[in-house]
Amino acid sequence: MLDATCPQEELYDIVQTVARGVSGRSTQPVQNNIYLSSQGDTLRLVATDLEYVSIDATIPATVADEGATTVPARYFAQIAGSLPAGEVSLAANEADTLAIACGSARYEIRGVATDDFQMLPALDEAVEFSLPQSELHDLLRQTAFAASTDETRPILTGVLFTVVDSKLQLVATDTYRLALCASKSEVGQEQQAIVSGRALNEVLRMLDDESDAPVAVAISETLARFEVGPITVASRLIEGEFPNYEKVIPDEDNLDKQVTVSTQELENALGRALIVAREDANRVVFETIESGLRITANSLDVGHVQEEISARLEGEAIETAFNATYMLNMLEAAGSEEVTISLSRPLEPGVMRPSDRDDYTYVVMPMQIM
């Protein structure tokens, strides 16, 4: 029978993290539970929707008896968060009722036997490599947001992992914009996989953007796995063929107009324009002027906004319109002082890059100017 004690704070942290593996939409009720087991000197927690994401974590615990049970994620997370600071004792009985005691509080939560709880299979014949946390953080931060959330085209809800010139390259697109980012570290072997954007966003939450501690990545034919310290996130790969993204990246030779601006200034200006643009499908009109860039947004219902920011320009003048949020997504992730927006013609795609790097490319389609 499971019988273990651990500090409330650590339990709460880990339950919060693991509970995100529950989708709440699972057709099998037991998959809305967290699997809990005591073994050796650890407590292990697992939650998975069996499809997009599986989160598996361990914390140190004082184990009086080894055993396992499952408890509803929702209640377990609420309880773990509500308990006073101190040691929490967890003990399951034969009927899979979990007694939770801490300070003066005593819960008895109805759980479900582990028999029907399913986990993702182990990875076999996986390609493995590791990257510093900060590097994987930046790769994911700069690409995962561009994946689609439209489940009717599953392939686009994933991020393409490929190895190009020994570097890991991530690509995501929802057909309106495309983000492509390559690692600095070399990861070696040729491979290709489409990993669920949802799972990657979970991985991203766990990564420390300042830590050089390694993240172990493993990719098999059917699964991807990321080990961040004591937490392992796994996901089924998305099957199918990723769109031919190379053909949508405009040829550099055609991008004869370049606008280089302060990332922060453009971010601020777009944030202000968005108050009006939100009522007009987020459309913001960009117009190059002598002093830089003029940004305007119009809404029949709200009104008008105009702002001019300084920019370095190359090439002829141009006027085009973009969805402000698509640009903001990139600016927030760019991590550089300045960005360069390269354009060709008003209804052709624009390319955004950090001014000081060429390993991050963001292609965004314009909107029609009305």
Binding site: R153, T173, Y176, P243, V248, A281, L347, M365, M367, M370
Partner: protein
């Protein structure tokens, strides 16, 4: 018991008109109406813009290798029996040298704007029907330009010179006849039907050419012995009313070329919607789902015909106790896709949750058109779906609304049709739509 049916569409004929006013097929005040219809519009633009395509059989549409369909065919391609909505693979079999071009709706819209601007120079009373056709009421412009025929000739000449495209023009005392005349003039021609020629002009045409006569009604007319409009002209009004009810009156008028509907300029559409009142209140979700799909298709079809895309999908629902609610959903991108409209309407209906309550009316609408489109980097599946939808539109245009149906509606239709049959044993079929143009000025 009859299904409530109201027709407020722009094609509704002058209903209140007094039959006694009929004089030789025209109204007392003789109007001059022009119908301009561009020839093989999409294909002609492609041929114009790419000289290598000229005088070749060209098909605008989907890939013949991946189940694409023909969206438009040049006249050279039509000579091989290629027509819209035909699978592209079949088009290639009929004519192996046919050139396939992906549709470029951006360009078509642009050219359409140029055409309409040109037409507007002849009269402000212009009503665009779709991207490539429009009605003009030139009654008051005749003094300025000489005659309706001269206006028609000038329009054709200027379209040829400035846009390097050809248009066919029909001139007649009303919209119904003008449209028939332009069809008769195709391709690259002009046909004027003078008031005194109306009856003869119509007499030779098959009954299907009358507005509102679809497949089912045409079949009924043929059963009654009317194959041509001429035969119909011999039939007294009372007999048609006895056979077709209110619509018999319209048949009688249209067979004589009588149509009072006005050319409606400046119809800035705020929404496109369709709704249907059921003969019996129901909470049968399968039935309601099938109705939603059909209403979505009708709305999608009208949107595509007018090159409109809207962001907001609205579901209208009237309960058995006449309480009416509407629920809306705004999509991130404007749409004219049947599928997207249906899926949103379906989700709205699911969110309402009938809880056993019965419904007497369902409606689906799309609005919020004033939004520029976010362009895509990658051609999406929906581009293909859209080509299919457009092709289906064309088939329906030619062969009637029931000529192409979703398997879902054929299947689900059994229950639906059964319900219909029960309440309306003498139903003459497909005109089940309660059309409502939500055009606020």
């Amino acid at each position: 018991m009859h299904r409530a049916q109201q027709v407020l569409g722009q094609r509704g004929c002058g209903r209140g008109a007094d039959t006694g006013k009929l004089v030789g097929g025209a109204a007392e005040v003789e109007r001059k109406i022009i119908h301009v219809d561009m020839d093989a519009f999409f294909a002609a633009i492609e041929q114009r813009d790419d000289p290598s395509l000229r005088s070749k059989p060209v098909v605008v549409g989907g890939d013949p290798d991946s189940r694409g369909v023909v969206a438009a065919a040049s006249y050279e391609a039509r000579a091989y029996g290629i027509h819209s909505a035909m699978p592209s693979s079949q088009a290639r079999r009929r004519c192996p040298q046919v050139v396939f071009v992906r549709p470029n709706h951006e360009t078509y819209r642009e050219v359409s704007t140029q055409v309409m601007a040109l037409l507007r120079e002849y009269t402000p009373v212009i009503e665009p029907l779709s991207v490539d056709e429009a009605f003009l009421d030139v009654t008051s412009s005749v003094g300025l330009f000489g005659s309706a025929r001269r206006i028609g000739e000038q329009i054709r000449g200027r379209i040829r010179e400035t846009l390097q495209l050809t248009a066919s023009v029909g001139i007649a005392p009303n919209k119904f006849l003008a449209k028939l005349a332009s069809e008769g003039a195709k391709p690259d021609g002009l046909l004027e039907v003078k008031p005194e020629e109306v009856l003869t002009f119509l007499a030779a045409l098959p009954v299907e050419r009358i507005w509102g006569v679809g497949e089912t009604r045409a079949a009924k007319l043929r059963r009654l012995g009317f194959t041509t409009i001429g035969q119909l002209q011999q039939c007294p009004a009372e007999e048609l009313v006895a056979q077709f009810g209110k619509q018999g009156e319209e048949l009688y008028k249209l067979a004589r070329g009588f149509d009072e509907s006005a050319v409606q300029p400046g119809r800035e559409r705020k929404s496109v919607s369709h709704e249907e009142t059921f003969a019996e209140d129901t909470n049968d979700m399968v039935f309601l789902g099938a109705i939603l799909l059909q209403l979505s298709e009708q709305v999608g079809r009208r949107l595509r015909a007018q090159e409109l895309k809207g962001c907001t999908i609205t579901l209208k629902l009237r309960y058995a106790d006449f309480r009416t609610i509407t629920r809306s959903k705004t999509l991130p991108q404007p749409t004219d896709s049947d599928k997207q409209i249906y899926e949103s309407a379906r989700a709205l209906l699911a969110a309402v949750g009938l809880g056993g309550r019965k419904v007497r009316l369902l409606g689906v609408g799309v609005s919020n058109f004033d939004v520029g489109e976010q362009l895509r980097l990658l051609a999406e599946d929906s581009a293909e779906a859209s080509a299919v939808e457009r092709a289906v539109d064309e088939v329906r245009e030619r062969f009637g609304p029931q000529s192409v149906r979703r398997a879902r509606l054929v299947d689900g239709g059994t229950a639906e049709e059964g319900r219909r049959q029960r309440v309306e044993p003498d139903s003459d079929g497909p005109q089940r739509k309660a059309v409502q143009d939500g055009n606020n000025q």
